[in-house]
Amino acid sequence: MTTTDPSSAPHGAPREGRRGFLRELWHVLSRPSSVFSLGALVIAGFVAGVVFWGGFNTALEATNTEKFCTGCHEMRDNVFAELKSTIHFSNRSGVRATCPDCHVPHNWTDKIGRKMQASKEVWGHLFGSIDTPEKFADRRLELALHEWARFKANNSLECRNCHSTESMDVTKQSPRAAVAHSAYLFNGEKTCIDCHKGIAHHLPDMRGVPGWQ
């Protein structure tokens, strides 16, 4: 130990003591280990890496499930209840789009970005910003606008993770859908969310939203 004993140090010593600790830490970290073998350090580092990285991704996946999302009543009683009657919840082929399929990017970096953004939602939950149906109704347009803006900005990426234009056969569609997709989707003039708003949740008051009255 090279640092002085803080208790016996004169005025201003705690600062000196901390600086001393940092210096000692740097001293230890910057020099080769004299106790552990290189092999042991490599193996321990690898194991620790597996544990931390695996744990991180497991936690990430755990927060990316329908069960987790519907764990709070704001989601379970409002948006999840609305999803249940739509084709994205139950349908002829038995495929379900769960909350993160549409609301969390699948690409890793974007996913981490969205997860960090979601810390604001934790704040909202703790302080009850939408904890009653009335509060939710009041903020519904604002929240929906955020999601529409996100879909518009990434060209409806979360839709296209399942529905791609390349594998879309307009001859199998209803005439109305075939005409609309040919005229607006395939030439890139519009993206999915421009027309398909409110397909998984109820719509907010749409006055002022382009294309609605």
Binding site: S174, P175, R176, I199, H202, L203, D205, W212
Partner: protein, 161 residues
């Protein structure tokens, strides 16, 4: 007295014969209704299958001038409430250019005093009160409705209308 007793007995015998005959005829008679099928009245008929929706988007001719046009496409999941009206996102005046859908009739802008408003009158806002999508079904009962044009033609063939 003896005669009377005999007639009473004969009456009851006759009654028993009539009742049993009518009861057996009720059971024996096969029940067949276009709506109900052949299921006996004291049993629950199997639910009919859900028929496919007409989704051709081809306009259908009205059967009489005042008939609200039927919807020739699926409206599953269309939200029509205080917040939004999915039908109007295509059929509103300003939307028809892009959607190529028929504009809703100008009569829908009229309030109950006959005044035309600038947009859809609240009393005409809920489209599916009058306009409904159609299913492909075989009509269970015969329909002898005659189109007004056919009636007029029959009354005065070749007349100008």
């Amino acid at each position: 007295m003896k005669i009377r007793f005999k007639s009473v007995r004969r009456f009851f015998v006759a009654l028993a014969v009539v009742v049993s005959a009518s009861a057996t005829s009720l059971i024996a008679e096969p029940l067949s209704s276009p709506l109900r099928g052949t299921t006996p009245l004291d049993e629950v008929a199997p639910a009919p299958l859900i028929t496919p929706l007409k989704n051709s988007a081809e306009r259908e001719v009205r059967n009489y001038p005042e008939q609200p046009p039927v919807i020739p496409h699926s409206t599953d999941g269309y939200q029509i409430d205080l917040n939004s009206n999915k039908c109007l996102s295509c059929h509103a005046r300003a939307r028809t250019g892009e959607s190529r859908a028929p504009m809703l009739s100008i009569t829908h802008f009229m309030d109950r005093e006959g005044q035309f408003l600038a947009t859809v009158s609240p009393r005409r806002y809920f489209c599916t009160q009058c306009h409904v999508p159609q299913h492909v079904v075989r009509a269970p009962v015969e329909n002898d409705f005659i189109d007004i044009d056919s009636l007029l033609n029959a009354a005065a063939p070749g007349a100008r209308r």
